[in-house]
């Protein structure tokens, strides 16, 4: 009996094969998915009346989110004053992660710099309309023009300056000679374009703008010029024409010795001892006089504008003098730097227009702002930029030809000023400035 029951207890126990087990699991998984989706479908189709609405909402959300992001990213009208600006900056941050090499970083920051400048340009357009209305109700006394988006405009300009600086810094990290050559050429072209655009902004805003705005514009112009100098110098070194570069360096030293441009371009602090401070102030006063006499020649710029500019420069000189007398060296240096920058770039804030000059003689200060508003529109800016761009292209082609000839020779490249022993191919504007200063 025991044997019989033992036999029954020993009946074979089959097990599911591995293949069958996997197959069943797969079927169960499919059933689970089907069950989940069928639930969704049921709910969705149960609301048949809402289906078109839901579909429209989904489509709108998808289209709007994609289109909004694309618009925010690409449009120059999306500025710091826009609600979509964080979207734009967020997308740029994401994009920055793809720029992994120094050369790519140069390209990327260069692109952002150009974008910031266009944003500043757009902000300045809006500002002109606002300030014209605002100042029209004033009492007749000349008042600095306040920009509608003053903070945004100035912050955007500073952002542009930061981007340009970063692009230059990354260029210094490039070790490959070909890449460096390409990046320097890119930066050089970009700086010329940036200068051009900021000059247009300066002209549009005019000398009537408040101190902070004009100082910012003048400083960024100076910074870009300084960087451009270093780049040109680096390219010269790259070409290996040290002998010729040395000669040009001597020339440049002679030319720049009488101007404050070199100090500003390097970002160096001005003199701090009382004697040096007095000397610096005298030098800047002389530069202001030279500028005033230069602007007065030809009569293409209204006396009112020239007077306004020189008044502001002299006011800054006096402020700087007061600062050094009270021992506030930092304030003195800042004011001196701003004064020098405005002296060197003051002419960009003035309008060379004979017709305007004649009208200016009989019009109050506030109406000049209205003219600024009328004149400063995007189409005109674009036309001017187009003309200047053509000139720049011609100039760049000549430079490229020279560079191509010189690239055949080997040489070391350094962007740092300290290593620069070659010449500085000063920009035409700077050459003019230097010669005038002399």
């Amino acid at each position: 009996m025991n044997n019989f029951e033992q036999q029954l207890n020993n009946l074979p126990k089959a097990r599911l094969s591995r293949r069958a087990d996997l197959l069943i699991r797969y079927k169960l998984m499919c059933a689970a998915l089907k069950q989940n989706f069928s639930g969704l479908n049921f709910n969705f189709f149960a609301m048949a009346g809402l289906r078109p609405v839901l579909a429209a909402v989904v489509i709108l959300v998808l289209v709007f989110s994609g289109a909004t992001s694309a618009y925010a990213y690409n449009s120059n009208q999306v500025t710091r004053a826009s609600t979509l600006y964080p979207v734009k900056r967020g997308l740029e941050k994401i994009e920055s992660r793809f720029a992994t090499t120094p050369a790519a970083q140069v390209k990327f920051h260069n692109k952002l710099a150009g974008r910031r400048i266009l944003e500043a340009q757009f902000l300045s357009l809006g500002s002109a309309a606002f300030t014209a209305d605002q100042t029209a109700s004033s009492t007749g006394e000349a008042q600095p023009v306040k920009l509608e988006y003053e903070n945004e405009f100035n912050d955007t300009l500073r952002d542009a300056d930061d981007e340009i600086e970063q692009a230059n810094e990354h260029a210094g990290e490039i070790s490959d000679r070909t890449e460096l050559d390409r990046s320097l050429a890119l930066l050089s072209d970009a700086h010329l374009n940036e200068l051009d655009k900021i000059k247009v902004i300066a002209e549009g805003i005019g000398i009537e703008a408040d101190d902070r705005t004009t100082d910012n514009i003048a400083l960024i112009l100076e910074n870009i010029k300084g960087r451009q100098q270093r780049i040109v110098r680096a390219i010269s070194q790259f070409d290996g024409d040290l002998k010729r570069a040395g000669e040009n360096e001597d020339d440049e030293d002679g030319a720049s010795a009488s101007s404050s441009e070199k100090n500003i371009a390097k970002g160096q602090s001005a003199s701090t001892t009382p004697d040096e401070a007095a000397s610096s102030l005298d030098r800047v006063r002389n530069e202001i006089k030279v500028l005033e006499s230069e602007l007065s020649q030809g009569g293409r710029i209204s006396n009112k504008q020239i007077k306004r500019l020189t008044e502001r420069l002299n006011k800054k000189i006096n402020q700087a003098k007061s600062a050094i007398e009270t021992g506030d060296v930092n304030k003195f240096n800042g004011l001196l730097r701003a004064t020098e920058a405005l002296t060197n770039n003051g002419q960009h804030f003035l309008k060379e227009n004979k017709r305007e000059e004649k009208k200016d003689e009989n019009l109050p200060d506030n109406n000049s702002v209205n003219k600024t508003k009328a004149q400063f529109n995007l189409k005109e800016l674009q036309q001017k930029q187009e003309e200047r761009r053509k000139k720049l292209e011609e100039r760049q082609k000549e430079e490229a030809k020279k560079a191509a000839e010189q690239n055949q020779e080997n040489g070391t490249i350094k962007i740092d000023d300290r290593t620069a022993t070659s010449s500085v191919n000063v920009l035409p504007e700077q050459k003019e400035g230097n010669s005038n200063a002399d």
């Binding site: 029954l8 097990r15 069958a20």
Partner: protein, 164 residues
């Protein structure tokens, strides 16, 4: 104490071999067919899992599904339980068993029992279910199941004695 609600996958892992074994014994040890029936039974169980009362035994519920599915299969295929064919159809499987002759003899004896006795004996010995579980599956009283198993064994022994 309320039984802890388990995930269906856990139940599947726990009972997949038992359910397969259940079908295997009842479809003449046809492995492929038993696998298909096992898959179908678990799919049915999955679909009805939301309605399963977790206070009840999943095993009883699952065997009830397997049993119904098997009956449907028999009905559809116009087949009946035919353990007499075990020697022919399950010969490959049985050859792997060490004491196959004794088992063949046992199967022959089981096949001679009535359908009800065969079912309770297979549940008890091949599926390894206890009386309470068999009672739940067959929807019978546990005492009745115990009596049926006892009688089935007695009849089986009588047949074995007669055979000897």
């Amino acid at each position: 104490m309320a039984k802890q609600k388990q995930n269906f996958t856990n139940y599947y892992n726990q009972y997949k071999d038992k359910i397969f074994n259940y079908f295997w014994y009842r479809v003449n040890f046809n492995r492929a067919l038993a696998e298909d029936l096992t898959a179908d039974a678990f799919l049915k169980a999955f679909k009805g899992f939301n309605e399963f009362d977790h206070e009840r035994s999943f095993q009883s519920w699952m065997y009830a599904i397997a049993k119904n599915h098997l009956l449907n299969y028999y009905r559809t295929a116009n087949r009946e339980t035919d353990l007499l064919a075990v020697e022919k159809m399950g010969v490959d499987e049985l050859k792997k068993i060490e004491n196959k002759l004794e088992l063949e003899q046992t199967f022959n004896l089981i096949n001679q029992l009535s359908e009800y006795y065969r079912e309770v004996l297979l549940m008890r010995f091949s599926d390894g279910l206890d009386n309470r579980e068999i009672a739940e599956i067959l929807n019978k009283d546990e005492g009745a199941v115990r009596t049926q198993i006892s009688r089935a064994l007695e009849e089986l022994r009588g047949r074995a004695v007669n055979l000897l």
